[in-house]
């Protein structure tokens, strides 16, 4: 086969691939999906807390460069490493997880950079209040996972939210910051 015909075949395959591209659904892998918050502690160090349980689905159309997601975080799964800190943040003074046992991220705008997701624009519901949020990708990749023998897509995303916009104002007047940095690891398995 000549170089030309190889190119023609490749182009035809490429065309066929994109012509048949459809949006695929991916299920959140809870063992590789964690949201961590970071908040400054009296200007000295950074306190962190991780939510251990997250579920949901992502749809991705790599050819059309579109996507959507609907993810639920179990706020009762908060884990800071210190029982007292976890208990206090979970209490009705802060996240009130008894009244609001889930946080939700719903997004239908994915911004691509080449073939990678670079940004996700959506709405975050936390403490019963919803605000727009922009998650920026620090890493994004898809790979064939040898254990589950399926494609897995995921990455690292982060965002800074203003907690008072979610009605979480505890300690603002004592010097605890209003800005909270969210650090999110996510992987999702093609269905």
């Amino acid at each position: 086969m000549t170089k030309f015909s190889l190119l023609a075949v490749a182009a035809a395959l490429g065309f066929a691939a994109s012509a048949h591209a459809e949006s695929a659904t991916y299920a959140i892998d809870p063992s590789h999906t964690f949201a961590t918050f970071e908040i400054g502690h009296f200007g000295t160090s950074t306190n962190r807390g991780r939510f251990n349980k997250t579920s949901g689905t992502v749809t991705l159309d790599k050819a059309a460069k579109t996507g959507a997601l609907d993810v639920t975080v179990d706020t009762t799964s908060l884990d800071t490493g210190t029982a007292a800190f976890t208990k206090h943040i979970s209490s009705d003074e802060i996240l009130n997880v008894a009244a609001n046992p889930t946080a939700k991220l719903v997004a239908n705008k994915f911004v691509f950079n080449g073939d990678k997701v670079a940004e996700i624009d959506g709405n975050l519901t936390l403490n019963g209040k919803t605000n727009p949020v922009v998650l920026k990708a620090q890493n994004f990749n898809c790979y064939m996972n040898p254990m589950v023998k399926r494609e897995v897509c995921g990455g690292d995303f982060d965002a800074t939210i203003v907690r008072s916009q979610y009605g979480v104002s505890y300690g603002l007047n004592y010097g605890f910051p209003d800005n909270v940095h969210l650090v999110i690891q996510v992987e999702a398995v093609k269905q």
Binding site: T44, S45, T46, R50, G81, F85, G155, N173, Y174, E187
Partner: protein
């Protein structure tokens, strides 16, 4: 833990009330507390944790938290020297996934049955002009293997803590190591060799 938990909650509320009353949470310049000779600070286990980060299939960052970490650090600001000896309870590692925690504890990874603790002994301290700690260098021992390690401050500050009525110094430090150097090789290269350490530390003056 339960007893100290409720105490912590009470004392932190008291501290907040004190701060609210204007006791002042302002940062004090590190040198303001400068005293002649070495001062030994006790690590605050509620605010001292090591988080490790490693790349999973070139896709996302797998994290695990180790701690709380107890220990002491001695700093002589005038002489610009310091001494840090940490016992890091590796067996406390927590990723958020019990299955992953169990896997990480196995002999081909962190081998926590044989080596429940890691050690960091640092006797080389670098300070900034204001007397804040910029870097601590020493030997990190994991799975019984010692390697040089440098932890660099991303932030460092001291404050007069209204609750403790003591100076508290601390910050966020970062370091990097290759896990294969310590014999923790399972999963290479799909799970990265480069491990990024993120350390929160606060230490209380006597």
């Amino acid at each position: 833990m339960k007893r100290s938990s409720s105490n912590l909650l009470k004392t932190s509320r008291a501290a907040l009330a004190a701060l609210c009353a204007g006791a002042g949470a302002g940062l004090v310049p590190a040198l303001a507390q400068s005293v002649a000779g070495p001062v030994t600070y006790r690590l605050d286990p509620n605010h001292t944790f090591v988080t490790f980060e490693v790349m999973h299939f070139g896709t996302s960052t797998l994290r695990g938290r180790i701690g709380p970490v107890n220990g002491e650090v001695t700093v002589d600001r005038a002489a610009r020297t310091g001494d840090l000896r940490l016992r890091i309870p590796v067996a406390t590692l927590s990723t958020g996934s019990r299955a992953l925690d169990a896997r990480l504890r196995e002999p081909d990874l962190l081998a926590t049955a044989e080596y429940p603790e890691a050690y960091f002994v640092a006797t080389t301290f670098r300070f900034d002009a204001a007397g804040g700690v910029k870097e601590v260098r020493g030997e990190f021992t994991l799975r019984g293997v010692g390697e040089p390690l440098s932890l660099v401050a991303r932030s460092f500050a001291c404050r007069q803590d209204a609750m403790l009525e003591r100076q508290v110094c601390g910050g966020d430090f970062e370091g990097a190591l290759k896990r294969s150097r310590f014999g923790a090789t399972m999963g290479l290269p799909f799970v990265g060799d480069d491990v990024h350490l993120v350390v929160q530390v606060e230490a209380i003056a006597p």
